[in-house]
Symmetry: C2
Subunit: 428 residues, 2 copies
């Protein structure tokens, strides 16, 4: 058996402690699977005195993660601090510069600084791995880059923020408003300290940017993502979508188009009988599509001590076995810049509007849609007691430009109360 693989772990929150537990409890299993003993040399966190429920006295302590990252007795620096600047970034850079392998769960770091870090890692011929950064315990990066290595990837998409999916599911099942469920989730500690990272879609978009780079061989481009959070999703839309056979999900989609790379994170409708439509609560799901394999769907826990630590350990075990793969699937010098697609690929859209209850109102709406080239697939008008009628429309496939033209023209018809809601329907 080879020399032991020595870890230095920075960040001892739930995930860090989860990693410590696995290394201890499964020492024999890990050695059998990797051919090497995996040990922890040193650890680092902000507060040394905090009781973390496991004894850490056998490990050297460093107050400074950079010092930990560059210790002579550390082969793999495990970064579980988080954040795209500051100590996490400094320590990862220091570790790579010192010739260490790096494993991180830090999606923001990779999404923002991935290209530069990949270049550094490859210049030093060291691994920089981050399975835990995307969809928690689901081995999605491994499946995409290794399991589907024979495929030209055509689309990746997924529900990758459990808190948002929890909120949307809870709104539907309890019939509560977004504001009510948001307050509830925040009170239960389900949301990040800055909840906008969750409900604004930023956290999920970090993950999408990483997946897009891996899928399409493009430089990671977080800024190229069309981003919309869930804060404007109403219980009315959830109910109306259900009535038309759909669920509303915060869905990330990346695909190559003839006019550039399309990356979007936005509330979308998906058929309620599809795997994505059936995904409830805090679970994550990623869909990978390739020209040879067709469609693969991966489902599992997207967060939490055990699942995230499981993903960290997958990377550690690969490093122990000597597996070496370019940071973004192909050498960083070969990653291409991507032009963000100016417009989204055509899709059907869901429209909800309040139509004044007077003769010819619906005709006016239908007319502006027709004039913009948007044709109607299905339409429902509901009974009502006040002076405006709820109307739902599912369009045939159309461009967002044509739809925006129609929406602007509707504004001039004078038969609507308020602005219509328009949501994309994603083919899954």
């Amino acid at each position: 058996m080879s020399e032991p693989l020595r870890l230095g772990i920075a960040g001892l929150g739930t995930v860090g402690i989860g990693v410590v537990k696995i290394v201890r409890q499964h020492a024999a299993l890990l050695a059998a699977r990797t051919g090497r003993e995996i040990v922890i040399s040193a650890i680092s966190a902000r507060d040394k005195s905090k009781d973390r429920g496991v004894s850490l006295s056998g490990y050297s302590w460093e107050n400074d993660p950079v010092s930990l990252a560059t210790r002579a007795d550390v082969d793999v620096f495990v970064e579980l601090i988080g954040g795209d600047e500051g100590p996490a970034k400094n320590a990862v850079e220091a570790a790579l510069a010192a010739g260490k392998e790096v494993v991180t769960a830090n999606k923001a770091l990779l999404a923002i600084h991935g290209q530069a870090l990949a270049e550094t890692a490859e210049a030093h011929d060291r691994a920089l791995r981050y399975e835990a950064a995307v969809a928690g315990g689901i081995p999605v990066i491994k499946s995409l880059t290794e399991g589907l290595a024979g495929n030209d990837i055509t689309r990746v998409m997924g529900v990758m923020n459990g808190s948002c999916n929890y909120i949307l599911t809870r709104m539907e099942t309890a019939g509560l408003s977004y504001q009510e469920v948001f307050a509830e989730a925040d009170g239960l500690g389900y949301l990040e300290a800055d909840p906008q990272l969750d409900v604004g879609g930023i956290d999920a978009a970090h993950k999408l940017a990483i997946l897009a780079s891996l899928a399409f061989g493009t430089r990671v481009d977080f800024d190229g993502i069309t981003l919309e959070g869930i804060d404007r999703v109403s219980i009315e839309d959830i109910r109306a979508a259900a009535d038309m056979g759909y669920k509303i999900k915060l869905l990330g989609v990346a695909q190559k188009t003839g006019r550039g790379l399309e990356q979007r994170m936005q509330p979308c409708l998906v058929p309620d009988s599809s795997p994505l439509g059936q995904l409830e609560g805090g679970t994550n799901m990623v869909v990978l599509e390739g020209d040879a394999v067709g469609q693969i769907v991966l489902r599992g826990p997207g967060a939490g001590e055990g699942p995230t630590a499981s993903a960290v350990m997958a990377d550690v075990c690969d490093i122990a076995k000597g597996m070496r793969t370019p940071v973004f699937g192909i050498p960083s010098a070969q990653l291409t810049g991507s032009t963000p697609a100016r417009t989204q690929l055509p899709a059907p859209y869901y429209l909800r509007m309040s139509l004044d209850d007077k003769p010819g109102a619906l005709a006016k709406v239908a007319k502006v849609l027709g004039e913009a080239g948007v044709s109607i697939d299905r339409m429902r008008q509901y009974g009502h007691e006040d002076t405006s009628a709820p109307v739902l429309i599912v369009t045939h496939k159309t461009t967002r430009d044509a739809l925006d033209t129609a929406l602007a023209a509707m504004d001039g018809t004078d038969v609507l109360s308020g602005a219509p809601v328009a949501l994309r329907i994603e083919a899954v």
Copy 2:
């Protein structure tokens, strides 16, 4: 860039041709991902003259797969012949003995001769990989052995024969009998030349045996599987199960128990709202459970040219990158013999019976169940026009032994027409 990796492909059916197409069409992509050019040196099949829709004139031809396997210009022998004896086995053995790496899609070969082949591969320090052997295009072996490497695996299960799932789904949606749908599927070419491999559960059991070995570090033990096919599943049971909120699936389950390794492939009920319950048609699904990660669900195409070739190419790319992993996840010498569990872990059961329409009949059935220690969770008796009433019972969790005692005692009550149907309800 390193030297090209040279393949020799034996077997040019749909999968073999699928591999040829990927190697050709994605040459640049494969080189970028693996750091090596991947080329085909030589090929072999039974009929050289057959038109396979692609030009094969650039490759050397061998009539004998053993000759192909041992050619000096072949680094990786790709075995796509099939069958657990004869040319496939001979050629794989010859390849390993000649120091070649081997990639195969042959589940029967691995399930029956896996241990011996693993020993041979490891003695020669060569890879023997078979991602395509289990669940087609789904990267399940990679997810299990590498993605969940930090976990003690607690259970693996899945629907791994698309033809059986197609038949069961079609019975339900069309309201047809097993015999009718079997004939239909056979006519459409959906079944193996020996249909018993599909409907008898043998093909799926080969896959289960492989997964169990990978999951639990045990020697592959196909004979230890409790095996029951779908030929006795009736449309009445499919309808009755649906009425109680379940679907019937040919489900493979492997788990460690205190009394040995439990491996079974049998028709089971699963909740219709679960991912397994929602799986329709020919798609495959594998569920992996580990102590850290919880539950991961993988869904995708289990067969076909593109998906199977995709899995073969995943193995080829790993070999090109120099990844080396023991054949069954840990060195073959460390794989342990497993005692097949004599009895299955307790579970709730579904019972369907025809009860004579006379006073006290139901009481007699309830009494024998109670005496055997089997308690009733839910019961439904249906309206009827003849002299016997359809009765469905869902029991609380019970042992198969207790249930068998109750079923035997029911036989003596004289209030049933025919034997009751008993199916396990799997917690998923």
